[in-house]
Every structure is written in structure tokens, then in C-alpha cells.
């Protein structure tokens, strides 16, 4: 296919050519960045918690009335017993928090008492001897807590457990290349010896501010002995989640009605916890997807519209060419090539624009650098879109009869 005559013809339609190229460039820039945002959000919301999500539900319980620390502890333990007897329940534990909860107690971990800056931030999870089993966490070294190590902790107490477990991510951060087992670290209340390392356990917050300690957690052998709230985490037999949730509520209120559960967040299956934690990320991904699709549709419609106009305008020329021996295929490929030339021009400009836009977004928003893969995918997508859009008007052009050459209009 000769390109020269096409270029010469395009020079006659400068404004239209530039407009299509511009539209392709802008669409490419926006779609590339939107796809990249979608990928980032989807990757973020697919990060594993490390726990047996399908079979877990969480209860946030609070006592009514003045409750001393000792009373709260007794009631809490009685609640755990009640829950254990609920049909379908496999195991129960209590904690101050759970993964994806959204916030809670994060604290610094130091390697020596004198150290000023923390070695790492970490999520603090309270745990009893059932914690690992209930959440289905894998111990990769050391041992679980013994029942006699679990102590109640009230508001007044300092966090100073003699033994702790840590996640592998925290162990590797604190002791790169070495084993963390048996080592001493300093929490806010004093030194603690690491007796166990668990494989994977996500932090309670997945917000960006917590991303630098996303999988670093300290598990302490403590129970929350306070009136205002501890969480009960319940693991059920597979398929027993829903009946167990209903039965658990009934059993606990029958045992002691002097308690308050929040209407919305009193009892949550972990699927609900997950969907709440990632609501905004999912919303953003969906919105970006819709915007990309609509943009591509509009651009395709624009190409169809403008090319149809050009075909209409050139019916006589097409007729002349056909009369002079050009085949239908020649006419078809003329319009396809013309569109390809414009699209390539637009796509090159769009690729540059996409990268520039991304760099600007990186400075203004917490975004990562755009990978070139997305630019290439975007370029390919728009070239195909252009070719697809131009097909219908080009086929119509190829059907112009040579007789048109003889008509005056």
C-alpha cells in the first residue's frame, strides 16, 4: 500500500485528522492510567489475610453496667465456653482485634531498651492458646502459647508479656537472615522473648498509612479484661457459618442478656469484614472500569462518525479510482491504512501523555510508576479499536460503484 497519497489526502483534512489523533491520544492516556489504578486496587484487595476466611465470624461484645476488670474477665471466659458449645463451632478465641478490622493497637518494636527509634511498627494482637487454631495460622517455628501463659489485661496494666509470637514478616525485618526464636525484643512495656513464629497474618488496617507494616504483627498472650469490648473470633465447621452465627447470638444472650452488640457491626462474617475493608478500593476499580469503557466507546463512535463523513465526501474520488481499476480491497485497505496512520500518530502522542500523566499523579497522589506493559497494552487496544471502528465505513466505501465517477454530485 502506498502511504504517500494517503498522507497527501490527510493534509487536506488537517483539522479532522488532528482531532481524531488527539482524541486517541487523550483516551489512551486516561485508559492506561485507569487500568493501572484498577490493577493496583485489585492487587491490594487480593492480598491474603492468612486466616481461614470462609469459616470465621467475629463478635464485638460489650457489657452493660459497671464491670470490674476481674468480673469482665470471668464473663469473657464464660462467653468463650458458651460459644464452644454452640453446634457447628470448631474453635473460639478472643482478641483485641482481627485482620482487616480497620484500626486498633499498633505499636513500635525495638531491639534494645536504649534504642530511640523503633525497629519496626507492628500490629498488636491479643491471643489465647486457641488463637492459632481458630484463625488457622501456620506455626513455622517454635511453639504456641501455653494456657498458663495467657493473662488478663485491664486498662491499667502495661503491655509487658514475658513471651510473644511474631509473624514471619516481622521476624525477617527484625532479624534478617537469622532466626528470631529465643530472641528478646522490647515492646512498649518492656522486654519479651519470641517463642513462636507464624507464617502469615495480615495487619488490622489495610490503609496506605499502615502499608509499611502490613504483615508484621506481634501476638501477645493476653485477654482483654475490660467492660468495653473484646472481640470473639469463632471458626466453624465448613458450611456451618450461618447457622452457627444465629445460634451463637441466641446462646450468648440467653446466657447473659446484659450486653450490647452494635446493630451493624456486632456480629460479622469474615466475608462482610473483607467487603467493608475494601469498599473504597472496589468502588474505585469499578468506577475506573466504567470510565474506560465509556471512553473507548465514545472514541470508537467518533472515529466511525468522522470516517463516514470522509467516505461520503469522497464518493466521487472513490468512483474514479474504481473506474481506473482499483479493486474493492484497494479501497478498503486505503481507509484502513489511513486510520492506522492516524491511530499510530495518536498512540505515540498518547503514550507520552500517559507517562506524563502518571508522573503527575505520582507527585499528587500515592500512586506507583506506570509499568510500560500498560502503555503497550493500551496502544495495542486503541489501534485495534481504531481498525474495528473504521471497518464499517471502509466497507461502505469499498461498495461505491465506479458509476459514481460519472455523476456530478
Amino acid at each position: 500500500m502506498e502511504i504517500k497519497p494517503i498522507l497527501a489526502a490527510l493534509r487536506q483534512h488537517k483539522a479532522g485528522t488532528i482531532l481524531i489523533a488527539m482524541q486517541i491520544a487523550l483516551t489512551l492516556a486516561i485508559v492506561c492510567n485507569a487500568l493501572f489504578i484498577i490493577q493496583q486496587r485489585v492487587a491490594h484487595l487480593s492480598e491474603p489475610t492468612g486466616i481461614d476466611e470462609p469459616n470465621i465470624f467475629v463478635i464485638q461484645n460489650e457489657w452493660i453496667g459497671q464491670t470490674s476488670s476481674a468480673q469482665a474477665d470471668a464473663k469473657l471466659r464464660s462467653d468463650l465456653d458458651v460459644l464452644r458449645r454452640v453446634p457447628g463451632v470448631k474453635d473460639v478465641t478472643t482478641s483485641n482485634s482481627y485482620p482487616l478490622r480497620g484500626g486498633g493497637w499498633d505499636d513500635g518494636v525495638r531491639l534494645s531498651a536504649e534504642q530511640i527509634e523503633d525497629s519496626s511498627d507492628a500490629t498488636i494482637y491479643f491471643a489465647d492458646e486457641h488463637f492459632l487454631d481458630t484463625l488457622d495460622l501456620k506455626l513455622v517455628g517454635g511453639r504456641n502459647f501455653r494456657a498458663d501463659e495467657i493473662q488478663p489485661m485491664s486498662m491499667r496494666d502495661r503491655l509487658a508479656p514475658p513471651v510473644i509470637m511474631v509473624t514471619r514478616a516481622l521476624a525477617e525485618k527484625l532479624f534478617p537472615g537469622g532466626s528470631a526464636l529465643g530472641k528478646t525484643v522490647y515492646l512498649v512495656g518492656g522486654p519479651a522473648t519470641i517463642v513462636g513464629v507464624v507464617d502469615l497474618l495480615q495487619a488490622q488496617s489495610v490503609a496506605r498509612w499502615a502499608s509499611n507494616f502490613a504483615y508484621r504483627s506481634v501476638i501477645v498472650p493476653r485477654r482483654m479484661a475490660i467492660a468495653e469490648g473484646a472481640f470473639y473470633i469463632v471458626r466453624t465447621q465448613p458450611g456451618q457459618l450461618e447457622p452457627a452465627m444465629i445460634a451463637a447470638r441466641k446462646a450468648l444472650f440467653a446466657d447473659n442478656p446484659r450486653r450490647v452488640w452494635d446493630d451493624k457491626e456486632g456480629i460479622l462474617s469474615f466475608a462482610e469484614v473483607r467487603s467493608m475493608a475494601y469498599e473504597s478500593d472496589r468502588g474505585m476499580a469499578v468506577l475506573m472500569g466504567v470510565i474506560s469503557l465509556v471512553l473507548l466507546a465514545i472514541t470508537a463512535a467518533g472515529i466511525v462518525g468522522l470516517t463516514s463523513f470522509w467516505v461520503g465526501q469522497r464518493r466521487r474520488q472513490i468512483g474514479v479510482r474504481r473506474a481506473l481499476g482499483a479493486t474493492r480491497g484497494d479501497i478498503l485497505s486505503y481507509f484502513m491504512t489511513e486510520n492506522l496512520l492516524i491511530s499510530v500518530g495518536g498512540a505515540v502522542a498518547g503514550a507520552v501523555l500517559a507517562i506524563a500523566m502518571n508522573l503527575w499523579l505520582v507527585t499528587r497522589f500515592e500512586m506507583h510508576r506506570l509499568s510500560l506493559f500498560y502503555v503497550l497494552a493500551g496502544v495495542l487496544m486503541l489501534l485495534l479499536l481504531g481498525q474495528g471502528a473504521v471497518l464499517a465505513p471502509a466497507i461502505r466505501a469499498s461498495k461505491v460503484s465506479p458509476v459514481e465517477a460519472t455523476r456530478s454530485v
Partner: protein
């Protein structure tokens, strides 16, 4: 002439329905997306208390020890109990209030209503006049109630409806965490956006339902909510001794009538810091801030970055839609070169042709704007279905309604300029010749 051109425009637009429809849809989508996101942005970056935002200030001090000190850092976002009390008692501002958030179990008198939790605000008496909180019945408590740790409460209209069936409940008893409180006031609807006086509760959260004197809440050790930042040896999770702990967990607001007062108050804060340093309580160099409401919201970046990102994206989207419309309009106008050539030959000036084509562009813009407005209403409705705490605020106000129309007509006329100008350049002789 205008009506004639309008008629011509409508006739021409009717002639090619698909092309016209495409242009209108493109503009409508662009306007709809843009106005939805810009409205959300507009609502979220609004002034929560327009009449007074310039006169309300949020003092910040730096009471931390030297651990982890870096020069030029911002002081903590809240104050300690001791500093809060000192500043409160100094009474250097026209009004001042020390406060924190919490949640209390409400135990209704009716047997059929189960106990439930309500968000609470523990504050000192000036809170109500300072923030111009509207009252349905009664009023806030007095400074005397603060000193006496009185069991008094102010509740919102919503809670009053729930507990007392909306009646004037002054003097009634409400049981909170096993303690009887006397209702002294019922608030009318009040929801400042953002929730500026305590951003720890969620930037756009609803206002609390129960307001209690701070001193009372500490006397009864009512559960607190919000953020607590501790340092040094006094840290930990001390619920009962938080008054003495080296922790910041309280918000302190002052009302200052004039910029001169604000400057004087800042000097007072600096002197206070110096004095505390001399006493050995503070260790760091003097580091104080005194921001008014809007400066504070700006500093805390309350507008979610996702919302800003969406606004930029929607603007980009509108630009693509406009470029699309320019292209289509150009095609449409140039196709009519023959007709325009005849008109030119019959004596119409370039100016008249230009006018005629711009009116046509304006009609497209108006149609696009109306459809865009509908789309914006749908878009905002969708936003309101989201669970975010600001979702219920996403409504179009008069300003944004006007802006929508201005944007729609303005942008489509701008989109019509280039095609109309190009079409005017048609040489009549050439067109007539080819006929």
C-alpha cells in the same frame, strides 16, 4: 434572525439524527461525570461553619520528650489533659472548649427498646455557644455544671425522638452506663461537614448523639473513642490514669474575635510552652501552631485523595468528549459547505454564517447539558448508595446547578468555535462551481 437560525439549526440537527445523538450523548456523559465528581469535591471541601470559621482556632503544642525529635516537625494533633486544663483555665480567649469523643451505652426506660450504643462528646460548656449549635429545646450546661461534675446531658433531636417521642424532654432522666443524667437541652438538626472539631471520629462522620460535661465523663470513667498518642514512660493504655499520662488525646478549640487577638493568643501559647519547659514538663523547643478551621482542615487533608483523583479523571473524560464533539461538528459543518456556499453567494456575511453555526452548536450543548444534568443526578444518587461516611452529603446545590449549565453551554460553544470558523472559510465560488 435568531429564531430563524434556531429553526435552521433544529432542522439540520434533525436531518442526521445519529450524528446529533452522538454529539449530545458525548457532551452529556462528559458533563454528567464531571458534575458528579465536582459536586462531591465541592461538598467535601466546604466550610463546616461559614459564619465563624475564620474566628475559631485550634491550638497545638509540643509536649513530647526529646525521643525521636526532628526539627521542623508538626506538633501533635491533640493536647494532653494537663495542657488542655491549663489552657482552659487560663481563659485567654473569648471562648474555649476542651473535648474528646466517646461512646456510651444508652439504657432506655421503655422495656421494649434494647440498650444501644450512642456516640458521645465529652466537652466543656463553651462548646455550644462557640460552635453556634442550634437548640430545639433548652440549652447547653453552664460552667458551674462543669465544675460540679453534674449529671446533665444534651441529646440530639434524633435521640430525643427515639427516647422521648420527640417531646420537650428537659428535666427528663436518661440512663447512660447505669448512671442517671438529666436532659438539659435537645439539639436541632446539626451536622457540620467536615466533622472539623474532632477528625479522629471520621472526617465526615455524623455528629454525636449525646453531649456530656467532660468532668463528669472522667468522674465516671466513661469509655473514650478517638486517637491516643503516647510517648516516654507515661505511655501505655492507661484508661483510668490518662489524666496524668504523657499522652495527647484531647481537642482544644478557642474563639478569637480578631487577627490581633489571634496573634496575642499565639504569643501566649509560646510563653506557655516556655514556662512548661522551664518547669521541666516540656523538653522540645517551643513549637506551637494556631490554625483556624479552614487552615486546619487543609493541614489535615480531609478531602479523600480518591475523590480528588476522580475529579481529575472526570475532567479528562470531559475533554475527550469535547474533542469528540469538535470532530463530529466539524464533519457536520463541512459537509454543508455547498449550502453555506449558496448562502454566502446570496449575500450572507461570514459573520452571519458563523452566528448560525454557533447557534447550532449551542443547541447541541444545551441538549447535552440537560441530559448531563440528569446523568449527574443519577451519578450523585449512585454516590449516595455508597457506604462512605460522606455519601449522604452528595447532593447538587444551586451553585453547582448553575455551574453545570454554564459548563455545558460554555464547553459546547467552545467546541463549536473551531468547526464554525473552518466552515466560514469556505470559498463560495468554489462550492458553486462544483454544484
Amino acid at each position: 434572525m435568531f429564531t430563524y437560525y434556531l429553526e435552521l439549526a433544529l432542522r439540520s440537527l434533525r436531518r442526521n439524527k445519529v450524528l446529533t445523538g452522538l454529539m449530545v450523548v458525548a457532551i452529556a456523559l462528559g458533563i454528567g461525570a464531571c458534575m458528579t465528581t465536582l459536586t462531591v469535591l465541592h461538598v467535601l471541601s466546604g466550610d463546616p461553619i461559614p459564619a465563624k470559621s475564620a474566628r475559631l482556632f485550634y491550638p497545638q503544642l509540643d509536649p513530647q520528650d526529646m525521643d525521636g525529635y526532628r526539627e521542623g516537625e508538626e506538633p501533635p494533633e491533640q493536647v494532653t489533659w494537663i495542657d488542655g486544663q491549663n489552657l482552659l483555665k487560663a481563659r485567654r480567649a473569648q471562648r474555649q472548649a476542651l473535648m474528646t469523643g466517646g461512646a456510651v451505652p444508652v439504657q432506655p426506660a421503655q422495656a421494649d427498646v434494647e440498650p444501644f450504643f450512642s456516640d458521645a462528646r465529652y466537652t466543656t460548656a463553651d462548646f455550644f455557644p462557640m460552635f453556634e449549635v442550634p437548640f430545639l429545646y433548652g440549652q447547653g450546661w453552664s460552667g458551674g455544671d462543669d465544675d460540679a461534675k453534674a449529671r446533665v446531658a444534651v441529646i440530639t433531636r434524633k435521640l430525643n425522638d427515639k427516647l422521648f417521642g420527640g417531646k420537650d424532654s428537659r428535666g427528663q432522666i436518661v440512663r447512660l452506663k447505669d448512671t442517671a443524667f438529666r436532659v438539659v437541652g435537645v439539639l436541632d438538626d446539626w451536622r457540620p461537614n467536615p466533622h472539623f472539631y474532632d477528625l479522629n471520629m471520621g472526617n465526615y462522620s455524623e455528629s454525636e448523639e449525646v453531649f456530656l460535661p467532660l468532668s463528669t465523663s472522667r468522674d465516671l470513667v466513661l469509655p473514650r473513642n478517638g486517637s491516643t498518642n503516647c510517648w516516654g514512660r507515661g505511655g501505655g493504655n492507661d484508661g483510668d490514669q490518662v489524666e496524668n499520662a504523657t499522652c495527647v488525646w484531647m481537642q482544644f478549640w478557642v474563639e478569637l474575635a480578631s487577627p490581633a487577638d489571634a496573634a496575642a493568643y499565639k504569643t501566649f501559647l509560646e510563653n506557655y510552652s516556655r514556662e512548661q519547659k522551664a518547669l521541666g514538663r516540656f523538653e522540645r523547643p517551643v513549637n506551637v501552631r494556631l490554625r483556624n478551621v479552614m487552615q486546619w482542615l487543609d493541614q489535615e487533608k480531609v478531602v479523600p485523595s480518591d475523590v480528588r483523583l476522580q475529579s481529575w479523571l472526570a475532567i479528562g473524560f470531559l475533554i475527550v468528549c469535547l474533542v469528540n464533539t469538535v470532530g463530529l461538528m466539524l464533519a457536520k459543518f463541512l459537509r454543508r459547505a455547498g449550502e453555506l456556499g449558496v448562502r454566502r453567494a446570496l449575500g450572507a456575511s461570514k459573520r452571519e454564517i458563523f452566528k448560525q453555526l454557533l447557534i447550532e452548536a449551542g443547541v447541541v450543548g444545551l441538549a447535552g447539558g440537560v441530559c448531563g444534568l440528569l446523568l449527574a443526578f443519577i451519578g450523585l444518587w449512585l454516590v449516595r448508595q455508597q457506604p462512605a461516611d460522606y455519601a449522604s452529603l452528595a447532593r447538587l446545590d444551586l451553585v453547582m446547578l448553575g455551574a453545570t449549565f454554564a459548563l455545558a453551554v460554555g464547553s459546547s460553544i467552545a467546541a463549536g468555535l473551531l468547526p464554525a470558523w473552518r466552515a466560514c472559510q469556505v470559498a463560495p465560488a468554489l462550492q458553486l462551481k462544483s454544484q
